[in-house]
């Protein structure tokens, strides 16, 4: 067995926890990265971040009553995320306030509530666990949940693809030909919450957004069409997860941050070297075409 095997394959071949981490991270990439692409294209990149904070009090309530158990914390997170998404959406649609402001208001309330609830019972270590997760401790329940969320997301994306694209590209046009606009918007927010909840056992509430947004933001620098952008984002997500897990194994780094930092490296390389990145758009060839 060569050093390449030792480096790349052995950790996953020899340790069950690494296999689980890999399976979980791959499923998360396939599901969350396309969602991230649409968040970015709808200029809602920071909404993902806000929603991740919004999940906290729900997860904290689950934690308060059941301790570090995945099902109660997940259900709690899901409920809190949906309440905040609906509340912020309702305020922006029914009043003059735009969604960014209403979303900020709701998630800040939610975050403060969450930290308060966690501090009622737990220690700082517990809070760290909720905020940053542990991909190396995924159990069967967690993997099943992530798998189910992935399947739901892909099916919903396939069915509503055309409406999602139309709602991003030309919302007024969609309103003139169909009533699907508002439902699709809320369905999409639901998928965002679902994927953040799926990611939070592995990466924590805060870093789950990283796996959603960084591959999407990187893919933007390479292509001018949505479909390849989603596929590329998934690919970048998978590579980042692999790299992050291997780095964390070999260098004894925290796994969640290692995955997100790997995605961060891809992002920075893409901004510089991407076909629509800094070098390609700033450095022009000396000659130009006639038309």
């Amino acid at each position: 067995m060569g050093p390449l095997y030792d480096w790349l394959i052995a950790p996953f071949a020899e340790y069950g926890f690494m296999q689980r981490a890999l399976v979980g991270a791959l499923m998360l990439s396939v599901s969350a990265c396309p969602i991230g692409v649409f968040l970015m294209l709808r200029r809602m990149s920071l909404t993902g971040d806000a929603m991740a904070h919004a999940i906290l009090p729900g997860a904290a309530v689950g934690f308060l009553f059941y301790g570090l158990q995945i099902i109660p914390m997940t259900l709690g997170g899901l409920a809190a995320g949906v309440i905040v998404a609906l509340g912020a959406g309702a305020v922006s649609r029914l009043t003059v306030q735009k969604e960014d402001a209403s979303m900020a208001a709701f998630y800040l309330i939610s975050l403060a509530l969450g930290v308060l609830i966690v501090s009622l019972r737990g220690s700082n270590v517990d809070l760290m666990h909720v905020l940053f997760g542990t991909v190396l401790a995924l159990n069967d329940e967690a993997l099943t949940l992530i798998g189910a969320i992935g399947v739901t997301t892909l099916v919903a994306l396939a069915v509503f693809w055309r409406a999602l694209v139309a709602e991003c590209l030309d919302p007024l046009f969609l309103r003139s030909v169909s009533r699907l606009g508002p439902p699709v918007h809320f369905l999409f927010l639901g998928l965002v919450v679902l994927n953040l909840v799926g990611g939070f056992q592995a990466l924590g509430t805060l870093l789950a957004v990283g796996l959603m947004m960084l591959p999407a933001a990187s893919a933007r620098f390479w292509t001018t069409r949505v479909e390849p952008m989603c596929l590329l984002a998934i690919g970048i997500g998978i590579v980042s997860c692999l790299a992050g897990l291997l780095l964390s194994y070999h260098a004894s780094l925290a796994s969640g941050p290692a995955i997100i930092l790997s995605a961060g490296v891809v992002y920075i390389l893409s901004t510089i070297f991407g076909t629509r990145g800094i070098l390609a758009t700033r450095i022009r060839p000396a000659s130009h075409l006639t038309a």
Binding site: V159, C168, D170, L172, F173, V177
Partner: protein, 266 residues
């Protein structure tokens, strides 16, 4: 001559201030109408009311049942930075036929290709939309209207920032739709263009000033009346009492126009 759109004492507006005030009348099926008026006179608002994205404050605006509608807004919410090609944008026009899940087959693709060549955008299929000029984008949006193949076509200032040749091409398309007995309403600012190409005109100044044969509707007296309209909202405007305001009656056939009641309301 059946009605395509019927306005019944229609008032549309924002925050209790009317932008279209007590409009009555019908748009005949197959008619070609220019909607004319100063900025803020309620032209775009009327379009939004017909499309249904703006609900009436009072009265009603009824589009004949079964009428398919295509709308090209003045302020498009189109996101030009979205990673889409021209063909993706124009294919959106297939929505009324194929909906959310219907397959875009070979015939649909041919329809889209025909529309692109009809607006002079052959070979632009794969161009990203952020690389189009203003006029090219407007042509692409007309192609989308073509693909929609609708009975009622509403165009809100389609000739803005468009060069003379493109205006001519777009006018030709509008004439083609008119020839196909579609109902077309176009918001236009260029009165010469209206006189030359549009058989009917609706002159607005919040209240409808005149509606009917273009020569008569755009008479100097009517234009003067329209010019006296005050664009700004009056925060202290009196409430508009029932029966008050310009109870404007518009009938086709004899083109009778009557102005009842005082015009001093709001």
């Amino acid at each position: 001559m059946s009605a395509c759109v019927t306005f019944g004492d229609l008032t549309l507006g924002y925050h209790r201030h009317p932008a279209v005030h007590h409009l009555n009348g019908t748009v005949r099926r197959g008619s070609l109408t220019a909607v004319v008026g100063a900025n803020g006179s309620g032209k775009s608002t009327l379009m939004k009311g017909i499309v249904g994205v703006l609900k009436p404050m009072s009265g009603r605006c009824a589009v004949a049942p079964g009428t398919s509608l295509a709308y090209l807004p003045q302020q498009s919410e189109l996101d030009r930075s979205f990673p889409a090609r021209v063909i993706d944008l124009v294919s959106l026009g297939l929505w009324p036929r194929r909906g959310l899940l219907g397959w875009h087959g070979a015939r649909d693709k041919a329809v889209v290709a025909d529309a692109l060549s009809a607006v002079g955008l052959e070979g632009f299929d794969a161009r990203p939309i952020d690389s189009l000029s203003g006029g090219q984008l407007q042509r692409a949006l007309f192609a989308r209207v073509l693909v929609q193949d609708s009975d009622l076509i509403l165009l809100d200032e389609p000739f803005n920032a468009v060069d003379a040749r493109t205006v001519r091409d777009l006018i030709d398309l509008i004439m083609r739709w008119h020839g196909e007995k579609r109902t077309v309403m176009v918001v236009v600012h260029d009165l010469d263009l209206v006189r030359e190409h549009f058989p009917e005109a609706l002159l607005m100044a919040r209240e409808p000033i005149a509606w009917g044969d273009t020569r008569a509707a755009l008479s100097p007296e009517n234009l003067l009346k329209a010019r006296q309209f005050h664009e700004a909202w009056d925060e202290k405007a009196a409430l508009c009492a029932p029966g008050q305001g310009g109870a404007y009656v518009h009938r086709h056939g004899g083109h009778e126009h009557s102005h009842a009641a005082a015009k001093d309301a709001a």
